[in-house]
């Protein structure tokens, strides 16, 4: 991915569900290999933004996008872009972990079965590496064939992250990935975000400002479906204090 072209760019983009405009006037660039927190109250449009960037709402009745949503300079809502191809580049981790009713190992390698050019012999090693990355290996190495839904919620979220990372997406969209996790799992995910900050473009939706400060290079505020103009939060900005009280 070129460093000159922003990984994600929104140009006067509006998102509608039927006639209701849920995101409006989105104008922003997210540089390559950076971690950006998207911070805002519930209902401000953060999740819709991530789902728009991964085209998760394509089959939702009445969903439409106006303006331009660019990934690596290409409008992802043009007819030339296949959603599945886009999602091979843009991975999404959901707020609530979702593991398939299969074994832990089968979950980790699930997405690989549908990718071309994978060296099948290397798959077990790849699985081990990503499980180590998310700090799950020591907990599951002796029971890889056990049923994944029996894992704790924190373990399931780390497993979901490992399943995504094994596919090496260039852009990682994370929708409140630690919101309902135990401290150990949350810390593992935060640590991974920090380690991947120079490798991928990460957009992290969070309600936790401390977490955003710890792991993100920039914090973007959203409210009522718009980006709010505010400086990157290194220290709480005077203008941000009032805003933060709302959250």
């Amino acid at each position: 991915m070129s460093d000159q072209i922003p990984a994600v760019e929104l140009r006067i983009a509006h998102v509608f569900f039927k006639n209701h405009r849920v995101l409006e006037d989105l104008n922003r660039q997210f540089p390559s290999r950076s971690v950006t927190a998207i911070f805002g109250p519930s209902g401000s449009g953060k999740t819709t933004l991530l789902r728009t960037l991964s085209r998760m709402n394509d089959d939702v009745e009445g969903f439409r996008v106006e303006g331009r949503v660019l990934i690596d300079g290409e409008n992802i809502y043009s007819d030339a872009v296949e959603a599945s191809r886009l999602r091979q580049k843009v991975g999404m981790l959901f707020q609530k972990p979702c593991v398939f009713p299969k074994s832990i190992y089968q979950n980790v390698v699930f997405g690989l079965r549908h990718r071309d050019g994978i060296d099948r012999k290397a798959v077990p090693e790849m699985a081990e590496n990503v499980l180590r990355e998310v700090r799950l290996w020591d907990e599951v190495k002796d029971r890889l064939n056990e049923w994944a839904p029996n894992l704790s919620q924190g373990q399931q979220q780390r497993l979901a992250l490992a399943r995504l990372l094994i596919l090496e997406p260039e852009i990682l969209l994370m929708d409140e990935p630690t919101s309902s996790l135990d401290p150990r799992s949350a810390e593992a995910i935060e640590s991974l975000i920090e380690r991947h900050a120079k490798l991928r473009t990460i957009l992290l939706v969070t309600h936790n400002l401390e977490q955003a400060r710890r792991v993100c290079g920039e914090i973007v505020f959203m409210d009522c479906g718009r980006f709010l103009e505010s400086p990157p939060v290194q220290l709480p900005p005077p203008a941000g204090e009032e805003l933060l009280k709302k959250y």
Binding site: S54, M92, F100, H114, R115, R163
Partner: protein, 296 residues
Amino acid sequence: MKTALLNSHSENLRSPMFWAVSTSALIALVAGLGLLGFLIIESVPVFSRQGLGFLSGTEWFGPDEFGAWPMIYGSLATAFLASLFALPIALGSAVYTAEFLSPKPRLAVKAAMEYLAGVPGIVYGLLGMTLLAQWVRNVFDLIDGNSLLTAGLLLAVMILPTVTTLSEDALRAVPRRYRETAWSLGMNRVATAFCVSLPMALPGICGAVFLGVGRALGETVAVMLVIGGLDRIPVPWFNLFAPGQSIPSKLGREAAEALGGGYHWHALMALGLVLFVLALSLSLAGRWFLTRQRSA
């Protein structure tokens, strides 16, 4: 806790509605058990005289000897043929409807399927007699178009909407989050449908198939009009172009003349018991699969 439960129970006992609904449930249970009991009692003379020879016998000549095997064979053969023809189409249609159609066309297809599932058997039978039997006769150059094959084809048409709509329900019952998870891994819709939705919906689809086959086994009038009505195992046994007989069509043809007692009547009741057991087994199997899906 125990006291609370007891209080709640005695509160129920005071409610007239509780008594109304519990009586309804009891009537349904007694009706089912009563039917089974009636069939068993009426079949006792046959099984006590012929034993299991009744099931394996191939001749249905009164007044003292009856064999059910041609009818059992006819029922199983037509149900098998119906499944063979209907299932691939029904499952393909269900996957397409559930996974690829947008909501409005999907509802239109569902409504059409549910309407077709409710069309009475006699209507299908008349169409089968006038169109399908003629077509089979002409295409396969037969003397008579009424055959096991014709009955199987007609049953396939009849169970197609039921299996399709119930399978579609099973597929739609797979939570959307599993599909979205597959999409987030870069899988396209076809891969998601076949590698995620279909395996997860399989118990429900099996339930739908069992219910459809159950209907095929129990269908009377439509089959009676096109099966040929011959109480014989075809020669060779897999010659499905030959006329045959199923249990319901046999009962439909002879129940009126045998009514009122005699060994012939008991033999028909024993046939009814065999059908009851076959249908009950399928229904229980279908229910077991559906329960598994709901608890998954």
